[in-house]
Subunit: 294 residues, 2 copies
């Protein structure tokens, strides 16, 4: 990557995640906020129909539609599949995109604060994260990479891309503090790219703490597929905190505590994310690693 | 009211408010938890189709369908209108009900802790609130009565009834601590009724702090009806806290602060409730009053 020429800020990939949607609307009203000297910035409201309905999606999760095999399909497409094709034509095509960078804005009901989600380890992305961390010491980095599995997020169209998650916040609502934090992180991201394009960023040398995805954990369920437990009060809200073997993870409706029974400590994230109930994810387990991006 | 013979615990009047729904499921699995010596307790999952879809409602808000004029209509009913008629036939009819008491379980994204919502000032309800407050000092009481306007909530079927709201929690999720608090309040409510039926409760004499509904406040909007501001960070989460003239209430997307410009102090509730965006309610204003139920 020599230079970023075209960047897309995407909001509303999930139609009920208002922070990104109203930020995109703000940027469309005040384009000066996102204009920089040496590249072009565009905005995109990714799922307008879901936003109108205040739902995550209409037919299927748009942010799981960006696999090459789905994008090549052109018949019997549901709403999100056809949106994915449209977005891929506009920003992509995936693998050889017209845009050089995608910043995709999300929210979560989990207590994840301000989080960058990485979908690959491209040195440009890591450098950008190192830069952003230097301004935002509380910024967390979740590396959601399943080796050997193609990522299906909208920002996987570009090699250079970041997802932003902010929480905890209920879908369909706004919280001014989280709105402002997200806006600031977008501004810093644009500043980084402007300086990168000017060749000014040779010296970022900083340890980054990265939470690497290991696996997902589902809720306990009965034979009818209904959940039988909740996140344990001692785990609720403790995203990015070390979970040791033997620590409580679930409390059943009957009042029984279920503990984490594996042998190594892990760092859970996306604890009690509303949209993951239907995906069979109570939380994701990660491993904390320190990487130095020289 | 001499004696309560039949009581209904209603969950899932809103299909995405999981706390009440999973409590009802728990009580159906362990009926001993809600059985008492001198009255009968039934449970009802009020909006099963909305629960299946994990939405507040399918066609219209079920908890606004219980006005006599709607309940008499019997043609061209949408899903919730026909559910309301069914529930009214089962628990009611409104005004002359088969059940003597309805306890309706709700959640909110507002920071309202454990709240009792009163829809009338029946002495039995006030006595029950005084009893519950003696065990739960943090319990808040919101009296949502619009003089001269018939209430359309499910629990308005019975003169003797309470609504429980608990928050903050995102719809579609569970939080074990709020689940347990709600369960305990249900238990205490049943205990109260059991003792009342035995004639043991002559001596409740306790001041109750009640937040009486004054009016609702909508979000600032542009000419297209779109919101142009968020709850101000200084108001967010401050349900039941005194709001003085001149205090910030909204922050526009452009960064401008809008202040409360009336002459008297008020106590806001339901601040940033997700389901009230579409109803044009950013928060409700109340007046704090101390009443003594002798």
């Amino acid at each position: 990557m020599e230079k970023i020429n075209k960047l897309a800020i995407v909001g509303g990939t999930h139609g009920n995640e208002f922070t990104g949607i109203y930020l995109v609307k703000k940027f469309e009203k005040f384009p000066d906020l996102i204009s920089r000297t040496n590249f072009e910035t565009n905005t995109l409201l990714a799922n307008p129909k879901a936003f109108e309905l205040v739902r995550r999606y209409v037919d299927t999760d748009l942010n799981r539609c960006f696999k090459a095999e789905y994008l090549e399909k052109d018949t019997n497409l549901n709403y999100e599949q056809s949106r994915a094709r449209f977005i891929n034509q506009m920003l992509g095509p995936k693998g050889n995109p017209k845009f050089d960078f995608i910043l995709d804005l999300h929210t979560t009901t989990a207590n994840m604060g301000l989080t960058i989600v990485l979908v690959n380890n491209h040195p440009f992305n890591l450098k950008m994260v190192a830069y952003l961390s230097s301004f935002e010491p509380d910024l967390k980095v979740y590396s959601w990479i399943n080796p050997g599995v193609e990522n299906s997020f909208v920002n996987s169209i570009c090699e250079c891309s970041l997802g932003i998650e902010v929480g905890p916040i209920a879908p369909g609502t706004l919280q001014a503090d989280l709105f402002q934090k997200t806006e600031k992180l977008v501004q810093r991201s644009l500043d980084f790219i402007e300086q990168f394009n000017e060749g000014k960023l040779h010296h970022i040398n900083r340890d980054i703490v990265v939470y690497k995805h290991l696996k997902v954990v589902d809720y306990p369920k009965n034979k009818h597929g209904e959940i039988t437990a909740m996140i344990h009060p001692e785990l609720q809200g403790r995203d990015y905190q070390k979970l040791n073997p033997g620590a409580p993870i679930f409390l059943t409706f009957d009042g029984e505590t279920i503990c984490y029974d594996e042998e190594s400590s892990v760092w859970p994230v996306f604890i009690n994310e509303v949209a993951y109930y239907e995906k069979g994810i109570a939380f994701c387990l990660t491993k904390q690693e320190i990487i130095n991006h020289g």
